[in-house]
């Protein structure tokens, strides 16, 4: 059983971010936006502003950690990386998402 709640969309953003960070060693916010866009074949476009509250919340929860570093174009940016706790969270989130998708699809087919 999987309970569908309002927060699931937010959970989806978390999932996308965690998944993105699991591929790269570390990325800054802008980089995450670009990666999600590219990886989804331009299907998903994250509202860039809403990414940051999510990033900070996940950092406070200990799923990701951050450090300031220089970009290729020599600009100071905050880079995020996955923590072991984040990796576990990612597995869990992926599982829930699978459930959600399966559930929603079943409902859609039923009609």
């Amino acid at each position: 059983m999987f309970k569908v709640a309002k927060n699931d969309l937010q959970g989806t953003l978390d999932l996308l971010v965690l998944k993105t960070l699991s591929h790269a060693k570390q990325l800054h916010g802008y980089g995450i936006v670009l990666h999600i866009q590219k990886a989804s074949d331009e299907l998903l476009r994250v509202e860039e502003g809403s990414l940051y509250p999510a990033l900070h919340r996940m950092e406070q929860s200990g799923w990701i950690r951050s450090e300031w570093a220089l970009t290729e174009s020599n600009r100071r940016a905050k880079y995020y990386a996955l923590t072991p706790a984040g990796r576990k969270q990612l597995q869990e989130a992926e599982r829930s998402f699978e459930h959600l998708v399966k559930g929603v699809r079943t409902v859609l087919r039923y009609a």
Partner: protein, 880 residues
Amino acid sequence: MSLIRRIANLRTRSKIDREIEEEIRAHMKMREEDNRAAGMSPLEARRDALLRFGNPVVTRERVSEADAALGLDSFGADVRYAFRQLRRSPGFACTAILILALGIGACTAIFSAIKPILLDSLPYPQAARIMMIWEGSGSDRPSPVTFGTFHGLAERSHAFAALAVMKPWQPTLISRDRPERFEGQRVSADYFRALGIAPHLGRDFNASDDRFRGPNSVILSDTVWRRDFAADNSIVGQTMRLDGELYTVIGVMPRAFENVLAPAAELWAPLQYNPLLPPDGREWGHHLRMVGRLRDGVTKGQATLEMQLILPGLAQEHAAGYDSTGGPPKNMIVNELQSDLTNAVRPALFAVLGAVVLVLLIVCVNVTNLLLARCAQRQSEFMMRAALGASHTRILRQMLTESCILAGLGAAFGMIVAFAGVRALIALSPPQLPRLSAISVNAPVFLFGLGITTLLGIVVGLAPALQVSRKQLHGGFGSARTIGSRHWTRSVLVIAEVSLAAVLLVGTGLLLRSMQHLFSVDTGFHASGLLTMQVQQSGHPLDRDAASFRFFNQALEQVRQVPGVLSAGFTAQLPLSGESDVYGVEVEGKNNPNGDPALRYAVLPGYVETMQIPLRRGRLLNEHDTAGAPIAVLISESLADREFPGLDPLGRRVRVGLDAGHEDRPWATVVGVVGNVKQKSLAVGDEDAFYINTSQWAWVDTAESLVVRVQGDAAALAPAIRSAIWSVDSNQPITRVATMNDLVAASEADRHFVLMLFEAFALVGLVLAATGIYGVLAGSVTERTREIGVRSALGASRRNILLLVMRQGMAFSLVGLLLGLSAAVAASSAITALLFGITRLDPLTYAAVAALLLLVSAAACLIPARRAVSINPVDALRAE
């Protein structure tokens, strides 16, 4: 812990803010650069970056919220902002805080009085096991126990771990040059064990102290020990002279010991009654209160049942003793000490509690209305905040913060009101109120105040906060306001206020009318111009009766010599003084050897004349009815009707008091019938009584009440009368000096106390309701300035406009009044117990309340109505 990390973040807030700022800026810059690389112009690149990102200000706030614990920091900002807002409108702030302080203060004060009486358990270990035990005579009220019953129960009962009886004791200490009278108790050995408190110095009473003609010993209260003996640790074993006899101090009670059964008592001595129970002795008088501590595991019901089984045996064994005292008890009544103490005041306290809750509700409604009015003025401010990105919840939180701060400030001042209120409550409280010493503003009371404050803040703030709906926030600026729904809310609130005030007023009116009825009750004597005092005769243990009799007669002679004294007399019990002295009356030929109970007035000649109790038939008592002469008694009309219905009572023979039921004792003759006198209270019709000269009664009471009829001001003559008595013997203490009118008033002190509180609360309610009507109407006139201008430009007369506004205002009060009066019909059932002479549906009260409320609301309407009339149509039309 993420919560701790978030709280820690608060400290380094400015640093984190800078980082967030920088992070967002970096993001924008990178997007801008990419855009430019893709061929956009610098301006286009920047615009696209902004569009993609959304509102950076909002993002920044949400990011820092994610960092900080539950937005703790923005709470600080809210608080600062709220204070600034309040400072900007001091009139509003002061009014709201004052009203809240009144409501919170009154509520807290009443709660602090009710808590120790109704909520707290008594200050004894396992207080729920302590029981009061009374004798029952079937349907009648419980009566005090005799020593005979106590002695028999104590010997046979196994239900109690400790069982004790007590009676008041007022010994006189002749220490320096003046006699000082103490309040104390005579108690049987187990008294303190029943309560579960032991002396902290010395020892408790034991069986060898409490034996007939045993040694004189005394236990002191902590107060006496500190005040009169300078907290001397070697006090145990020392002696003190009480009533002319030496008493050995054997113990001192702890400071924390609260004696709820006799709060004024400072000394305790053993009872020392005769366990042989002579049938004609005081051992068979109904004058002892009995208290017991249930053994572990024994229930109240089991104890009652056990005593019920013991009673028949007792009655058989002590038939002679019970015959002299109105027969054996039919049953024993066992009550928890707590409910026994509080039963009498419970209805009054609940009525007061109800009234104060009504006041609090009115306060709530009033402040809500004030906030709504202010909210209307701040409409554009909220719209501006919404336009700048404040979310709806953010604005809601801001408003709740403001109302909670208002409530908090109200509570701060409310605590001052509560402190003053508690002091006033204690000063004005009726003597029947138990546990007076435990009433104070302490930590739980403070927490209670804090609780209602928080509740008030939220309740009061919620309505205006919800008013600022999403729709209105995005409705736009300017003059197009949606005032309809807000007006509707405010009208409902005003109507609620008026109806709550009406309920309070009806309660007050009913109590007021009850008091009127009570004080128009015929007491049976003429109270004006009467001075009363209690005179004690102490000392002379050898021929106490003769010495007392001599002293009281000489004192009476001296008092009669005082200029201004018209007449004077002594009585063993004084009407409406709280005393109740009942003995049996055996009627010849009726075969009631136990005697029917009647109030006993043992008097010195002159008492009935001084009280001006009307003589209905026969003659009064005189000096010739003395020891050795045939015994003469006066009886009250009600006793005559009860014992001799339809017959002439004169010349009938009765045996009274200890003589009742004793064949060998002489008969007394009824020589006259006098009017009924209220003894217990104005409301209670307990009037069966007989009067007998002290010289013909079995003993002379050592405490007698002097009644003096004087010319002019009764109280002014007190010093002269006192010195007249002391001219006979300056060692005899004189207490309870009061005019008869004071006693009459004091006998209704509990009703008066409730009435006083109701009056105060109703006044507050009325004023708040009036200001509520005024506020809403004034606001509406301001908002309708343009409309009124148009109306008068189109030819409406001043009269039309006056009526227009008045009609709106009076509609509120009429609807409120109707609702309030119907609510009062239901609510008044809560004070039925306090009413006298009227029903709770007393039409006069309801009519008077309606008239008063309408009058006051008309006055409240008049001011805005006059302003509406004075609106100049030209100015009004130009203003918009």
